[in-house]
């Protein structure tokens, strides 16, 4: 410890600043509204009050919205993995007509903020009759340019010999992909899965636009509208926010090593 004392002081001090908002949040959920808004502010709850948590369940269909978020996240992640693996492999290893221009299209998509296409995308979803449905929330976001790009880079880095051996044994490209390449791509896929889960869990603007009934809202939208309506009830707002983040934070703590490896990997490409 003594060898790196300076480094420890900086890292620990900075780290405490990073987590201090969460610490305050947890403590404040047990305070009364009066205590939170008192001047000067206090840090320790005077009476440990659980009312805030009960209020969340009374004021929004929290469990239903949690379920919505889970369904949306799982659907998005599974579909993203399948599509990006297929596309990434095709771009990395196959030869086909207009491959160059199609890849340029994917790169263009990487640069265009999805937010800006909101108006025509909304019209399309509306014309399909998908407003206020899981299909409307999930399907427009299925093509993930970053994911396709990342998987292409990953497949490019794998040795060709295995594929060629399998081809000589008479396997068709579908079989080569499924039995040989996909198992090798697991590290890349798990990195992509982690990034997709995180983005999908917190995505706000698109679901905010396509969903209008409380029972179809994911937690992100539910939380935004909750704070709009109950803007001065700080303890229950904080409790709702905490419960909405808890599943993903637990997931991170359990899978920490994989998450960090995955992100480190995506950055190297």
């Amino acid at each position: 410890m003594r060898k790196h004392l300076g480094a420890h002081l900086v890292l620990l001090g900075g780290g405490l600043i990073m987590v201090s908002p969460f610490v305050y949040q947890v403590l404040a959920t047990f305070m009364t509204n009066d205590q939170i808004t008192s001047v000067p502010p206090t840090l320790w709850p005077t009476e440990w009050d659980l009312g805030a948590y009960a209020a969340v369940f009374a004021q929004i269909p929290f469990l239903r919205q949690l379920l919505n978020t889970v369904v949306i996240t799982v659907l998005t992640t599974v579909a993203t993995l399948v599509l990006c693996a297929l596309g990434g492999y095709a771009f990395a290893r196959m030869r086909f007509y207009a491959k160059g221009p199609l890849f340029a299209l994917v790169l263009t998509m990487l640069m265009v903020p999805g937010t800006l296409l909101l108006i025509p995308q909304y019209q399309t979803v509306q014309s399909f009759g998908w407003l206020d449905s899981f299909a409307g929330i999930v399907v427009p976001g299925l093509v993930n340019a970053f994911g396709i790009f990342m998987m292409r880079q990953f497949f490019l880095g794998l040795p060709r010999e295995l594929e060629e051996a399998a081809r000589l044994d008479g396997a068709n490209p579908g079989q080569v992909f499924w039995h040989v390449m996909l198992p090798l791509a697991r590290p890349g896929l798990s990195a992509l899965a982690i990034l997709t889960v995180m983005a999908s869990w917190s995505s706000l603007l698109w679901p905010l636009v396509v969903v209008n009934s409380q029972d179809m809202m994911p937690l992100s939208v539910g939380l935004a509208s909750f704070t709009g309506e109950h803007g001065t009830q700080f303890p229950s707002m904080l409790a709702a926010s905490l419960m909405a983040m808890l599943p993903i934070v637990i997931l991170f703590l359990v899978m920490q090593r994989r998450v960090i490896e995955g992100i480190a990997f995506s950055g190297l490409k």
Partner: protein
């Protein structure tokens, strides 16, 4: 095998599941956005061709200049992320440092949380009356501002949250970049009597430039696209309008003022600006990025 120029039908089996949604939910909306940017929408949704009117209006709209300036300021502040992340990653990567996993987790925690959820806490911390930040400043006799409702200050306040949210991600990416530098280089430099600072400047920094480039491009694009954080931190009131960024300006014209033709013209300009900035960065990278 290499004699064949195409792989027959197989690529299309792989590509069709991507190309169909790509066409419906990206290419077609992009073309329609371009078309709408030359139109004006009436209150009842009738679309009328008005040529370059929207673009001419944009050039003389003070709100556009404001949004452009705010976006540039926001992006510049968030860029502070990069040196801070490099510094912390270098500290964490010291050989033999203990508690590394704990530090990583502490810094990374904000990355996995939801912006809309953490905004609730930050709004309270920033409160001019009962916020902890001003109470803390008060200990030193400093009278803190009303962070989120003072023009100019509110953009800085949101940018601080932006840095807080993405710092952990960048630290991980830089750590990976640092791990890729061969330790022999440092050993050789130490034998030659190079100071730690000299080693950092002559070994670490040049070899880290590809990672620096990647993170800078992502931060810049992310800064230009910022919307969620402004929206959840400042809401939609008059102060949010004064602190609006480009994408917020697009959202407010299209959805709050229901001026969809004008909004799509703003969108096209934002896309062009991002493309321009990215192209510029790729041009400039030849001057400072070293690929081993």
């Amino acid at each position: 095998m290499s004699a064949r120029r195409h792989d027959g039908v197989w690529p299309w089996i792989f590509m069709t599941p991507i190309l169909v949604p790509l066409a419906i939910f990206f290419l077609w909306p992009l073309l329609r956005t371009l078309y709408y940017s030359f139109t004006t929408w009436s209150f009842f949704g009738e679309v009328r061709w008005t040529g370059l009117d929207n673009y001419e209006r944009l050039l003389s709209d003070p709100d556009f200049t404001l949004a452009l300036g705010n976006t540039a300021i926001y992006t510049l502040i968030v860029m502070l992320n990069v040196p801070i992340a490099v510094y912390l990653a270098a500290l964490m990567n010291r050989p033999g440092l203990r508690l590394r996993a704990l530090y990583r987790a502490l810094y990374f925690l904000p990355v996995v949380t939801m912006p809309v959820a953490v905004a609730i806490v930050w709004r309270m911390l920033y409160s001019g009356d009962f916020g902890l930040i001003n109470a803390f400043l008060g200990l030193f006799g400093i009278q803190g501002p009303y962070w989120l409702s003072t023009p100019g200050v509110s953009l800085v306040a949101v940018a601080i949250v932006g840095i807080w949210l993405s710092l952990g991600f960048n630290i991980i990416v830089f750590s990976a970049g640092l791990n890729g530098i061969p330790p022999e280089l440092y050993e050789a430099a130490a034998i030659d009597g190079a100071t730690p600072w000299r080693q950092f400047r002559s070994i670490t920094l040049p070899l880290l430039t590809p990672t620096l480039f990647f993170v800078t491009v992502l931060t810049l694009i992310g800064g230009f696209q910022v919307f969620d954080l402004i929206f959840v931190m400042l809401g939609t009131g008059p102060n949010a309008e004064r602190s609006q960024t480009l994408v917020y300006f697009f959202y407010s014209e299209g959805f709050l003022h229901n001026d969809k033709g004008y909004a799509t013209a703003i969108g096209i300009v934002i896309i062009a600006l991002i493309a321009l900035l990215t192209a510029l960065q790729f041009r400039l990278q030849r001057r400072w990025v070293h690929y081993a």
